[in-house]
Every structure is written in structure tokens, then in C-alpha cells.
């Protein structure tokens, strides 16, 4: 056994030493500049296709400032517990992060982020792209807006004689045609438990003229009755209940869904497979009251406890990422819509359709309100999906009950309720 063990350990040590230098996140060292000698780590969740442009931007920042920047990737769900560990320990290893703007409240409530009220947001940034403040303070800076788009399978639509639905009524008609051809529902809505269902339901309520914070107003009731009808008549694929950003890509690829809504990363993943041209990408449908798209995307923040030269470098990098130069490059390379009104560029041909759809959807963007009781709103919207949409209970009765729970939660947390419109 001893010989084998020695051989195994030697092999592993050799392999480790051979591979040890392969830190793909680190490219080049810092050069000369006002921040030379300073090293920071920037965390952002990226697909492989999006990574190269960010690395090029960081190279540019390095040569401009002399600061060394390591790129790492911590997912939106993993960032809060990781920051909690590091902030509580007083030793942050992440100095600037890009985080999903639908997951910010917990970072503020737990005291995990620095107050950035002193950082100047460029005047060319579109007002609606500036993240909301919390208690009058700026904790997050704008970086990348995002919205969900609709993806329609061109071939299947042609076979079914269906057209792209632009209203909820047309959505129902289209779903009926798809069901007739496939003999089962071929439209998925992202109704997976948690944030996916909350985002979908928010869009439906607002597009029917309701307010998700109220949940039992007329618009909300009509939205739920409409969704209940779609479900009852088997127009929605049952996989909708598992629908979220990753499963929806699978639904589209596997043709579980011939029509689905999802975040634009879908386009990058379909393009990677050479499948994007099979789909018509567009902004989606409007409700009786308006068109509404929850504005997601990433905002920038600095963890609590980042100080001195590292904070200076983190702020400088945030300012660089908001600059015209950086935003223009992200438009041209990644087809990310810009936060700025002056950052135009030539979008890659394959991504043009997606980019145009994002721009169109952003015109009807809707920011989720930053209220302390949003987790309770989200929980009750999820409960409404289970009881009204799939459970078939009376919408008005259930929503009255769930509204009561939201009101109680808001009062318990000391928030004004009903909220100012």
C-alpha cells in the first residue's frame, strides 16, 4: 500500500504544481498609475460568452490606473452568505461586486454594503436606470439593466399557424393554436417557487393595472383570473411550475415550450449552440392596462469593510464601468443595453434581434419597489399561484386573505401601508 500511496501523492503533487499557476482570472499585473500596487477583486456572474469583454475592460482599467484587478464569479444567490462571512470577519476578499438588482434588500438589511452616496453617478446615465436609495442613502450604482424577453420557436409557430402574441388576449389565442397542434400546453411562464414566480406575477398584475403590494385590487384579481383560465384550459405547460432562468432555456431547447419568457442570457446560450436563429426574440405582450417588464440586471456595490486604497480602487473601477467607453464596449461586444444615453455602438449581428427586443422592453420597464416587506409580498404572490392559478380557488377570496397578511407584515415592519402610489 505504501508504494501506491507514495506514487499517488507524488502524482497529485506533480499535477498540482503543473496546474498551480493556471489562475485564469488573473491577467497581467498592475502597471504604473495612481493606484499602482493596489490589488482588488471584482465579482460578477457571467456566461462564458460575456466574459471576454469584461476581461478586456479590466485590462484597460489596469493600464489606466496601475491597479491589479482579479475577476471572480460568485452567483447572485451565493453572494449574501459569502459577504456576511467576510464582513463579519472584517476581512473582505471581494472589493467590488455586481449583483442582481432584485436581490439587494437583504444586503442592506444585514449591513453588508458601504454607503456610496459620495460617488457621483454620471449625468449621462438615464434617470430610470439609477438604482433606488435605501433610507436616503445610495448603496448601489447602475451598471447593466436587463429585462425578460419572449422566445418563440419559429418552425413550431409556422406549423401551428400561430403569430407572435402582442397582448394577453392574443397570447391566449396563440396558446390555443399551439395546444391544438401539440395536444398539450406549449407556453411556459416562469412560475417556479420564489423570485421567478414573483417576477412573473408582478408583471402580470402591473399590466392589468394592479399593484403587487396590494394584491387584492381589481387589476390583481383580473390578472389572476386570466392566469387561472390559461392553466385550467391546459394552455400552459405544467413545466411552468419549475420555470426559472435556467430551466426555461432547457424548455426551449427541448421543445417543452414553443413560447417562453426568459432573461436575455437565453440568447447567448442558444447562440453558443447555433440555435438562436430558430427563435423569434421579441419584447413580449401587454396587458389590458399597459405593457410591464420588471427591470432586473446588475448594479455595483462595495462590501462593508473595504477601506483605504482598495476602496479607492473599487470606486475608481465602478466609475470606469459606468463610463461611456466601458458601456459602449459592452454594447458592441455583449449586446448589453447601456445605462447611458450616449453609449451607442454596433451590436453583433447575431445579437441584434435580442438587443432591439431589450431596448423595446425597457421602454416599459417597471422597478420592483424597495419596501422592507417585499419578501412577504413575494411569499403571498407565490401562495396565490398555488391556490388560485393551479389550485383553482376563487381569486377574490384568496387575494383578500393574502392582502391581509401583506398589510400585517408591512405594519409590523413599520412601513406606510397602503403604499403611496
Amino acid at each position: 500500500m505504501r508504494k501506491s500511496a507514495v506514487a499517488l501523492i507524488s502524482f497529485l503533487a506533480l499535477l498540482a504544481s503543473a496546474c498551480g499557476g493556471g489562475d485564469g482570472a488573473r491577467r497581467g499585473g498592475g502597471g504604473e498609475g495612481r493606484l499602482s500596487g493596489t490589488s482588488i477583486t471584482f465579482s460578477i456572474s457571467l456566461s462564458e460568452e460575456e466574459r471576454a469583454a469584461i476581461e478586456d475592460l479590466l485590462d484597460q482599467f489596469r493600464s489606466d490606473t496601475g491597479a491589479e484587478v482579479k475577476l471572480t464569479s460568485v452567483s447572485s444567490a451565493d453572494l449574501p452568505p459569502k459577504l456576511k462571512v467576510e464582513v463579519d470577519a472584517g476581512r473582505p476578499t471581494i472589493h467590488l461586486f455586481a449583483q442582481d438588482n432584485l436581490a439587494l434588500r437583504s444586503l442592506v438589511d444585514q449591513g453588508l454594503v458601504e454607503d456610496l452616496s459620495d460617488v457621483q453617478v454620471p449625468g449621462q446615465v438615464v434617470d430610470s436606470m439609477v438604482p433606488e436609495q435605501f433610507d436616503g442613502k445610495t448603496y448601489f450604482l447602475p451598471f447593466r439593466p436587463n429585462v425578460r424577453l419572449a422566445y418563440a420557436n419559429r418552425d413550431r409557430f409556422r406549423e401551428a399557424g400561430a403569430t407572435l402574441p402582442r397582448t394577453v388576449e392574443e397570447l391566449r389565442t396563440t396558446a390555443e393554436k399551439l395546444r391544438s397542434t401539440a395536444r398539450s400546453g406549449k407556453v411556459t411562464l416562469s412560475l417556479a417557487e420564489g423570485d421567478p414566480a414573483a417576477v412573473t406575477i408582478s408583471e402580470w398584475i402591473v399590466s392589468f393595472g394592479g399593484n403587487p403590494l396590494i394584491l387584492n385590487d381589481d387589476g390583481s384579481v383580473r390578472a389572476f383570473e386570466f392566469l387561472q383560465g390559461l392553466w385550467r384550459d391546459n394552455l400552459l405547460a405544467r413545466e411552468s411550475l419549475l420555470g426559472k432562468f435556467d430551466t426555461e432555456v432547457d424548455n426551449l431547447q427541448g421543445e417543452t415550450a414553443w413560447l417562453a419568457q426568459n432573461w436575455p442570457i437565453t440568447s447567448a446560450q442558444l447562440a453558443e449552440q447555433g440555435l438562436l436563429n430558430r427563435f423569434q426574440v421579441y419584447e413580449g405582450w401587454r396587458g389590458p392596462a399597459r405593457e410591464a417588464h420588471v427591470i432586473g440586471g446588475d448594479v455595483l456595490g462595495i462590501p462593508k469593510g473595504v477601506t483605504g486604497r482598495q476602496k479607492e480602487a473599487a470606486v475608481a473601477l465602478a466609475e470606469f464601468l459606468m463610463s461611456e467607453q466601458a458601456q459602449k464596449l459592452l454594447v458592441e461586444r455583449n449586446a448589453w443595453p447601456s445605462i447611458r444615453e450616449d453609449a451607442y455602438g454596433d451590436v453583433p449581428r447575431e445579437q441584434k434581434q435580442t438587443f432591439d427586443a431589450i431596448q423595446a422592453a425597457l421602454e416599459n420597464g417597471w422597478y420592483r419597489p424597495n419596501v422592507a416587506y417585499w419578501p412577504d409580498v413575494s411569499e403571498q404572490m407565490n401562495a396565490a399561484v398555488r391556490r388560485v392559478v393551479t389550485g383553482g380557488e376563487n381569486a377574490r377570496t384568496v387575494l383578500d386573505e393574502l392582502h391581509g397578511r401583506i398589510e400585517a407584515a408591512a405594519r409590523q415592519k413599520g412601513d406606510e401601508y397602503p403604499p403611496a402610489t
Binding site: L8, L12, A25, G254
Partner: protein, 279 residues
Amino acid sequence: MAVAVRRDPLDRPLMLLFPLWLVVSLLIVLFPVYLVFMVSVAPGEAVFGERPALFVTEPTLRFWEQVIERGDLWGPLAKSLMVATLTTLAAIVIAAPAAYVISRLPQAIRYAVVIGLLVTRMFPEFAIGVSVATRFAGLGLADTYTGLVLAHLIGALPFIAWILVGTFETIPRELEEASQIDGASRFGTLMRVVFPIAAGGIAVASLFVWLYSWNEFLYARLLTTNQNTLPLQVFQAIDRGSRQQMATVAAVLTLPILLVVYFLQRYLKPGAMAGSVKG
């Protein structure tokens, strides 16, 4: 006088069914592994549609080339190999002598200690993980091999000690007494008699600890920033990558496991303890 051997009437059908059962079992175990490798070489068309192909007629190595050219798997691979191997070595060095001592305690005390070891594994890891990681980060152990090895030992030590107590219990004390009568010291007996006999059990325990550390996710996630472990890299591919990227990274994750199992497989035979005591 010839003795007639009566055969059970079910013997023949069972003998016929056994190979079939074996094949079905193998398929159930190996099919997911096949799917991972198959998808990793599948072009986009092959995984598109309601009935994706089970066989790839025009395989592509594009995703493997991307993984190899990009090079961002080698760092995580090296880190995972080092951490898993160091955790295993440390766990054996610490737990083997401890388990031997526990196995020689009076039965009531031994039982209490073994139960105590298991109790430590009954708490949900996440419940203590954040607190432990915070303390480690405070000590400057975040993003270090040492921190991750120590964190993995928290979960591995009770487990390996529990397995080894069972192994040492089966080694008769008479062997140790015989060794000492022949002039061996206590330590010499341990090294030349007890541990060699327990090699099979130690190998099994090592394999479990290595696999635990290799696949560990929680502490890796909380204590790692600049150099992922391989499971984190796989998670990243699942989170933001295509099916083929995910399958390729998952395939890379399985390859070192095959290597380690190959090295340890000779000790994983049932009955490795047989023959240690002659009647």
C-alpha cells in the same frame, strides 16, 4: 455412497435472470455517466427538440477544446486535488490512532464515544457553516488551502473515526499480545501488525473522505474567492453555461475520481481481513 444433491427448483431461473439483472443494474448506474460524456461531445442540434438523440452521430470536441484552451479548469482541478488529498492524509493521521484507542476502550465507553462522534454529524452543515467560515475568515484562512482543509476536516474526522473504530474492533487483541511476546513495542505492534491488517478499512475510509472533500460545496463556496474548487466551477457552468459546457466540466470532475478509485480498488475487496488469525 453417493449423496444426491437436491437442487432448488428456482435455481435455474435465477441463474438465467442473474445476468439480465446484472446488465440492467449496470445500465442504471452507467447510463447517467454515458449521458454526461455524450452531451459533452454533442453539437447543438443533437440536444435540441423534444426527443434529443441518445447517440451522437457527428460528435464535436469543441466544448472540450474550449475547456482546455481556456485553461480555467486547471487551477480549480489542482486546488481540488490538493485539498482533497491533504484532507485525507490529515484525517488518517489524526483519526487512525484515535480510532484505535477508542476501539480498545471498555464497551460502554466506546459506545458512548461512537455515538458522540455521530451526534456531531447530525446538525445541518449550513447551520454551523457560516459561523465556522466567519471564524476562519477572521483568522485569515479565507482563500487558503489550509482553511479549506481544516474546514473539510470538521466533517471528515467524525466520519472516518467512526469507520475506523469498526475496523480496529475486528482485529483480535491476541495478535497484539503475540507481537509483544515476540518483542515488539506497543508502537511497533501498531505500525507492523495492527495498521497493515486494517489497511483495507483505512483505504475505504480514505476513499470516503477523499470523495467528501472532493465534492464538498458549502465551505468551498464560503471560503473561496479567487481560485474556485472544481465543484464550484461546475456549479458556475450549470449556473451560466450551456448543457455541453456543463457536461464537459462535470466529465472533468469525474476523471480524477476514477484515478483514485483505481489506486485504492485493490484494498476495497470484501474479506480483506480474512486470514489474519489462524485457528
